[in-house]
């Protein structure tokens, strides 16, 4: 089964709070259940994305790192 990513955001190079601000904005445009993929290089984004997911209830379904690039997959919460 393949995972379909509805939208991908390249936020490499951006610093706090821009990765979260831009992610929140992009998430607004998604339908419940759709997946958003994010690439970032700010090391602070690792705890920030986890905290944002907990605080907003949008599950962080995947997070990883490839070299200096952090990768997150968030699922828009179902109401």
């Amino acid at each position: 089964m393949s995972i379909t990513i509805a939208m991908s955001l390249d936020l490499k190079g951006l610093s706090c709070p821009l990765p979260i601000v831009k992610t929140a904005k992009a998430m607004k445009g998604l339908a419940p259940g759709q997946l958003l993929e994010v690439f970032a290089t700010d090391p602070g984004s690792v705890p920030d994305f986890k905290a944002w997911s907990m605080a907003t209830g949008n599950p962080l379904v995947e997070s990883g790192q490839d070299g200096g690039v952090f990768h997150f997959v968030l699922k828009k919460k179902e109401f």
């Binding site: 190079g13 951006l14 610093s15 706090c16 709070p17 821009l18 979260i20 601000v21 992610t23 929140a24 904005k25 944002w52 907990m54 605080a55 907003t56 209830g57």
Partner: protein, 174 residues
């Protein structure tokens, strides 16, 4: 006596009870204070919180339009604006200001690290629906008129409105 086995890490439980609103009292007007104020305000909005920034006292000066130089009616208010230039592009550092060299270096570093400037964050805050409310009493006291301040602010208000908005939420005084 039984020996308990090592427990598995807990599954993520229910979302912890969090405040759905945040109010920041922006009292300070320096670059190194208004910057985190705007970072926290935009982040609060990104976290889905109903976010308000209540600008009072020195915190009002970053709201002055960058092209407005002298504000106030009487000589004391005019002198105040001369000594303490308003606008989010003329902010001073609370330490290591070095007659403006400090903020210039900070701006350079921010560009290098792709950190959004206070001016950009202010625009973002407006776009994200952060309520930006100037304090009426300190506007009168310091001689700042509505037309001296940037667009996109809400109607000036008083302490009661600020505290009513803050009720039950997260509050910060910066």
């Amino acid at each position: 006596m039984s020996v308990s086995t090592i427990e598995k890490p807990q599954e993520v439980g229910p979302v912890p009870e969090t405040a759905d609103r945040m109010t920041i009292f922006a009292w300070s007007g320096e670059l190194d204070k208004i910057w985190p104020t705007l970072i926290l305000a935009t982040t609060g909005a990104a976290m889905g919180k109903e976010t308000t920034v209540f600008f009072t006292f020195w915190g009002l000066f970053p709201l002055v339009k960058n092209e407005v130089r002298i504000t106030g009616e009487n000589w004391m208010q005019k002198m105040l604006s001369m000594m303490n230039r308003g606008g989010d592009e003329h902010l001073k550092l609370s330490k290591m200001n070095f007659a403006g060299a400090g903020p210039a270096m900070m701006e350079h570093l921010a560009k290098e690290h792709h950190v959004a400037s206070p001016h950009e964050l202010m625009d973002m805050a407006k776009e994200m629906g952060v309520h930006l409310i100037p304090c009426q009493m300190t506007m009168d006291l310091l001689g700042l008129k509505r037309e001296d301040l940037i667009d996109g602010l809400e109607e000036p208000a008083g302490a009661t409105k600020a505290l009513a908005d803050a009720q039950g939420g997260m509050t910060l005084f910066i």
